[in-house]
Amino acid sequence: MTAFILKRIGFAVITLFAVLTLVFFIVRVLPGDPASVVLGDQASAASIEAMRQKLGLDQPMVFQYLDFLGGVVRGDWGVSMATGRPVVAEVLNVLPYTIELTVAALILGLAFGVPMGIWAAVNRNRIPDYLTRIVSLLGLSAPAFVSAVILLLLFAIQFRWFPVISSGQDTSLGGKLRDLALPAVNLGLIMAAYITRVTRSAMLEVLSQDYVRTARAKGVPNNVVVWRHAFRNSLIPVVTVVGLYLGILIGNSVLTEIVFNRPGLGKLIVGALGQRDYTMLQGMMVIYTFIVVVVNLLTDLVYGLVDPRVQYR
């Protein structure tokens, strides 16, 4: 187990290094220039050049790269080219919002997705199954920004239960939960749709296994068959999807953040891209990669908990 984790951490370091290098060169190959963004569109070419020097962009790219790597090794991620603030500080400022939103969406996704998937599987080709499939299809196909605006129109404008601006209006616990509610539902519904479909198909497969038939033949009550015998064995694909989707969720939260006016990593990366903020983009990409690597590792470890047959080598 320890050897497995160490090996995975070793791979993670290599992955991070590769991502870092790729991102470093890709953002610099893109047309556009942080110096002109900082100075605005009335700046002369000479002052843009002066700003490029100040930001170190006039150096050969290899020098910039070595300088950057040196900084990373020392734990210095540099400062944002657009704002002049440390990259780490900018990220840490908004990271809690992204974590809050992702975890809330995940909880909602699991809370709705798993029972609905099981319900559909148990009632295969009957009304509950059709209903669940239609609802989950809707969840998968509705773009996040459309469902977000519908939620706002309904619950913020029509019923006035929740605010349109989902950040920092009220810092009490109730206020924070109220801020989080609609964005989390918006992301959670999509997550729930995925989980419903995966749970349904995994359950269908397990329910058709011989041992389930045997259990039923022994007279084991239906509840016990479904929850104890079948559900646990159908968890592996569900865990896989949750793991995969968690990474996507963090990346995809940008539309939800924009429509609900929440701070977050998604908005930060969109802003950095628009400003060609090289240092910020580099930092963000590493963080995203790191999150995906960690989630994958955790997913692998959860397999062992779910299925004792899984062995780590």
Partner: protein, 515 residues
């Protein structure tokens, strides 16, 4: 147990819902700007519209344009009570008020003004240093008197001293102490002082109780960054925002006006949409081809397409309302004339021209409309869509034959002519700004006007420059877009809102909510 759960859920829901609806009113002004996040609050660096909006509430200038106006001739005292100039207009002396307090304490003196103007003229500290290049010396004669010595006369000098760009006066101690951090911790003398910045959310300001024009009636301002148009509108509609940046769109104006207790203001300065034609590249190097393009563009239809209230037809290469603007009369719409000119130029079968085009929707749909109009005259305009930063980078590398550019500038003809039509500003040169057409036909007039001290002669020079540029069709002006904001009917700015340099209605000490 079930009862307990029910009570818990009900309490939680009541708690959640109970705290909704208590929207602050009265002395708390909540503004929504269109942006992802704050760029900078350093007034000598701020160029983005959302940044300039909040900066305008924090700083003063030596003089100012009457709030609610954007006419540079409506100059009145701000930090200076009076000013005099020598006969040769090379030496200017300003007498300061002695009741001005810096945010965070300390009286504003001539030292602060000297520091601030030198900072505005510094290449390292200011994005507007070039505008202050004629400032030879700025000295504090005594704590209440500032003397500016110029290397050559600057007729628009007062325009450089209004609280806009480099004319914003910063407090020396705070700026020196903060260093680069001034961008996040600004201190001026304006009616509102900086309190807090929350990344991607808002900037909070509070009333400067020691403000020299009297304590502001609004005590707190939350200036929010809301990128999504839909969310901004919904937040305004739900009552979470009192003053909201609008879309440049007639439908938006109509919709916001229909909301209960809502007002919409449409005001200048106008943002001129201008199609710049690269005069050094074939086939645009032939003036007849450029004239053909001018005749092929149907300006009234484009202005109507953009919205009758928010857009107005352009009538010169300098926007209307700018000091020195001259309605010079642009080419009439005539596909026949266009085709005839093309045939004369040796292109009887039409021409093909290429443009790098930003995907920014307001720019893209304009250029697509122009593209369709040109087609009717046998002119094929190929568009290569790129994202906005790429567009800005590539047009400055002289890679596009045709450049659609929209800009509002300090409303004096000189700014526009210098940045877009003077040879020094041609893209590719070290002194380049935004002269995409390589136009240099009016250099003499533009230069002469810059130092002409007789106001009438100066206006005549600017008018002549505009005529020459239009004759040579360096660019085809299309329409001007105005600014639109929506606000609560109860919000009274204290001034009629006819224009605003900072492109936001004037939030001053007089701004208040009325019943």
């Amino acid at each position: 147990m079930k009862n307990f759960q029910l009570i818990l859920c009900t309490a939680l829901l009541a708690g959640l819902l109970g705290s909704t609806g208590a929207h602050a009113q009265g002395t708390h002004l909540r503004i929504a700007a269109a942006g992802n996040d704050l760029g900078t609050l350093d007034p000598h660096r701020a160029t983005a519209t959302p940044d300039i909006g909040v900066v305008s509430m924090i700083f003063n200038g030596l003089v100012r344009i009457t709030p609610g106006k954007a006419n540079p001739e409506a100059v009145e005292p701000d930090l200076a009570t009076s000013w005099t100039s020598s006969d040769d207009k090379l030496s200017w002396t300003f007498t300061l008020r002695d009741d001005v307090q810096c945010h965070g304490g300390g009286k504003l003196t001539a030292d602060d003004v000297v520091y601030s103007l030198k900072r505005a003229a510094s290449k390292d500290k200011s994005s507007f240093f070039a505008e202050y290049s004629a400032f030879q010396a700025v000295e504090a004669v005594d704590p209440k008197t500032v003397k500016i010595t110029l290397s050559k006369p600057v007729p628009g000098l007062l325009g450089l001293l209004v609280p806009y760009h480099g004319g914003n006066i910063v407090c020396k101690a705070a700026a020196e102490q903060a260093g680069d951090g001034f961008a996040r911790k600004p201190a001026g003398t304006g009616p509102f002082e900086f309190v807090e910045y929350q990344p991607q959310q808002f900037v909070k300001l509070k009333a400067n109780e020691a403000y020299f024009r009297g304590s502001p009636q609004i005590k707190e301002i939350t200036y929010r960054y809301i990128l999504s148009d839909a969310s901004r509108d919904l937040a305004y509609q739900s009552g979470e925002i009192d003053l909201s940046y609008g879309r440049q769109d007639d439908n938006w104006i109509k919709r916001m006006r229909q909301l209960p207790n809502s007002k919409v203001g449409v005001f200048g300065p106008g943002e001129l949409y201008n199609v710049h034609l690269n005069m050094t590249q074939k086939p645009l190097d032939d003036v007849r081809v450029r004239q053909a393009i001018a005749h092929a563009v149907q300006r009234p239809a484009l202005a109507k397409y953009k919205g009758q209230e928010i857009a107005r037809e352009a009538d010169s290469v300098v926007p209307q309302g700018y000091l020195g603007h001259e309605s010079v009369g642009l080419a009439d719409y005539s596909p026949d004339k266009a085709k005839k000119l093309l045939a004369e130029a040796g292109y009887p079968d039409g021409v093909t021209i290429n443009a790098i085009q930003t995907t920014l929707p307001s720019m893209m749909n304009t250029m697509q409309a122009v593209q369709a109009q040109l087609k009717a005259s046998g002119i094929t305009l190929n568009l290569a869509p790129v994202d906005h930063p790429t567009f800005h980078s590539q047009i400055r590398q002289d890679l596009s034959q045709v450049v659609l550019y929209a800009a509002a500038r300090f409303p004096v003809a000189d700014t526009y002519l210098t940045q877009f039509y003077e040879s020094d500003a041609i893209v590719g040169k070290p002194s380049a700004v935004t002269n995409f057409s390589h136009c240099g036909v009016a250099d003499a007039e533009i230069k002469a006007a810059r130092t002409e001290t007789d106001a009438d002669k100066q206006k005549a020079l600017w008018a002549e420059a505009q005529r020459k540029i239009v004759d040579q069709v360096c660019s085809v002006p299309v329409f001007e877009m105005l600014q639109a904001w929506a606000w609560k009917e109860s919000l009274d700015f204290g001034y009629p809102v006819e224009g605003s340099l900072s492109l936001i209605p004037p939030v001053t000490e007089k701004t208040r909510f009325v019943n």
